[in-house]
């Protein structure tokens, strides 16, 4: 893993470093920003694009859960028809409860699955990271840079960061 990064003590300096890297011609997806907390009021916190598509995946997961519940209840009741209190063999009123729960379960599981898949978690391989992040530092850097590392290092240093380079 090669890369160059700098650690910043405050988000304003990190914002400045990100803008400086962009001014160098780096694309948003080329800059890695790592922090111990999200900084929602800073522009650099919104570089990952919109996540609203996750709601659609959750809805799709819920639909799959609903379909499974419908199949499970209706097929079971047809395969083993039991007369219960004069209710229809396929009793929609009671099956709605099963369908509701499995719809919600589908939405929950698909949401968690989407989170893990889209963030690459769980991750075993060592990744571009510095434990100083856990003490409050904000890491701004470039993984496997296409640009010349010394130029990037200078840019980051000028923004006030403590620069480190990975060979």
């Amino acid at each position: 893993m090669s890369g160059v990064y700098a650690l910043f003590a405050d988000p304003d300096a990190a914002e400045r470093a990100v803008e400086a890297l962009r001014a160098q011609g780096l694309g948003t997806d080329e800059i890695t920003i790592i922090s111990a907390q999200p900084y929602e009021s800073y522009a650099f916190s919104h570089t990952g694009g919109s996540s609203s598509w996750m709601f659609r995946v959750a809805a799709a997961g819920g639909t799959v859960g609903l379909a499974c519940a419908f199949a499970l209840t209706s097929l079971t009741q047809r395969a083993w028809p039991i007369n219960t209190g004069g209710m229809p063999i396929v009793a929609l009123w009671t099956n709605l409860i099963i369908m509701f729960e499995m719809t919600m379960l589908g939405a929950v599981l698909s949401t968690v699955g989407t989170l893990l898949w889209s963030t690459g978690l769980p991750r075993r391989r060592p990744a571009f990271y510095d434990p100083a992040v856990s003490t409050g530092a904000i890491l701004v850097g470039v993984e496997q840079p296409k640009h010349a590392s010394p130029v990037l290092a200078t840019t980051l240093a000028r923004a006030g960061g403590q620069v480190k380079t990975l060979a």
Binding site: Q24, T32, S45, T94
Partner: protein, 450 residues
Amino acid sequence: MSQTVDPITDDLLRPVLRTSPRFWLTVAVLGLIVAAGAGAWIYQLYYGFGVTGIRWPIFWAVYVTNFVFWIGISHAGTLISAILRLMDAEWRRPVTRCAEAITVFALMIGGMFPIIHLGRPWHFFWLIPYPNQRGLWPNFRSPLVWDFLAITTYLIGSVLFLALPMIPDFALLRDRTTGWRRRVYGTLALGWRGTTIEWQRLETAMSIMAVVILPVAVSVHTIVSFDFSMAPVPMWHSTIFGPYFVAGAIFSGVAALILAMALLRRFLELGAYLRPLHFENLGKLLLLMSLVWSYFVFSERLTIWYGNDPAEMAVFRTTQEGSFAPLYWTMVVCNFIVPFALLAPKRTRTTISGCVAASVAVLVGMWLERFLIIVPSLGHKHLPYSWATYRPQPVEIVITIATFAAMTLFYVLFAKFVPIISIWELKVGRQPAPAAVDLDVRPEAMGVRR
């Protein structure tokens, strides 16, 4: 770069990283009580259900009371946390994890009672819908199967709702510990780094989970109420039971949350984070739920009294004037009089001790309420020849006490292993506004030569 001074992280990691003798003493005492409960259960398994007070026609007694009570307590966490997240209430930040942990442990304990209540608990998996040699599948028209699915869904959802925001804190612990702890927390952190994409996805996932978990929480206690209201038993067969149970669950859940927060504040020295404001806000919610609960009880009782059905009036009278009257009026005092007296006046509501006293009363009152829903009705069904009474036996009492110890033990161990307040969420709430300066970041302005 000078590293920032981070008192929040240090304060909140202190209970995890340092172990006092008081912790071991607490674990030992609670562990003994839980062991006594396990012993009582083994005794019950060995000698059979005859050692309990459960007799025809009262087949549901203290165990089902405990089941409904603990499932109700579970509404503290996920429901309150999800509502506060969706409303973006800033004061929620130190409260959410305390609350979500209550949900998970209360569900685990509550979910055990249908199994404890089985004569042959090793057959509990017959409730699970799966193809089997017997050619039998669970009957999806049975409220008990609804229970199984609803509680399983809520438990899975609540565990994930609790676990997802813990990942960044596990990463923090991974970087702050050494040896086996580093390996354990490193595994639990799943390789979390804290990139902007990871934060965005996590926060979106939490928003979706909050939206999804709310109706599930409501459905769970509604379905628990269906265990009763689907049966033609006097004072059970009621259309109001769903919302009445949900209101009662939130009521007892808030009380449990206030009590847990007060204990955490005292024993983990979290006074700077769990402040009087949090107790006052939750106290207001507790007062509101006390009034809602009272409204439901009044509506239910007035309708039955006005209808004057002999079977229902027999239960009505035995609870208000007969052998259950002392428990009934204690319940009214604990669930309405005490919370109203302590939480309506600002002078007592704004004190932590006032909120805690009201919460203890509510927990006692709500356990009695569950008991009074179950036992008097089963003991006074439609035909008087089947009328009976019930007296809990030592086995049931020991198991009941042990569940309270188990809840406390789970909570103590959890607070020892995980920061009980979400560190990153708390920090987000305390971030300063971005500096309002124009940044001249042109390479030339920064002295960078291309």
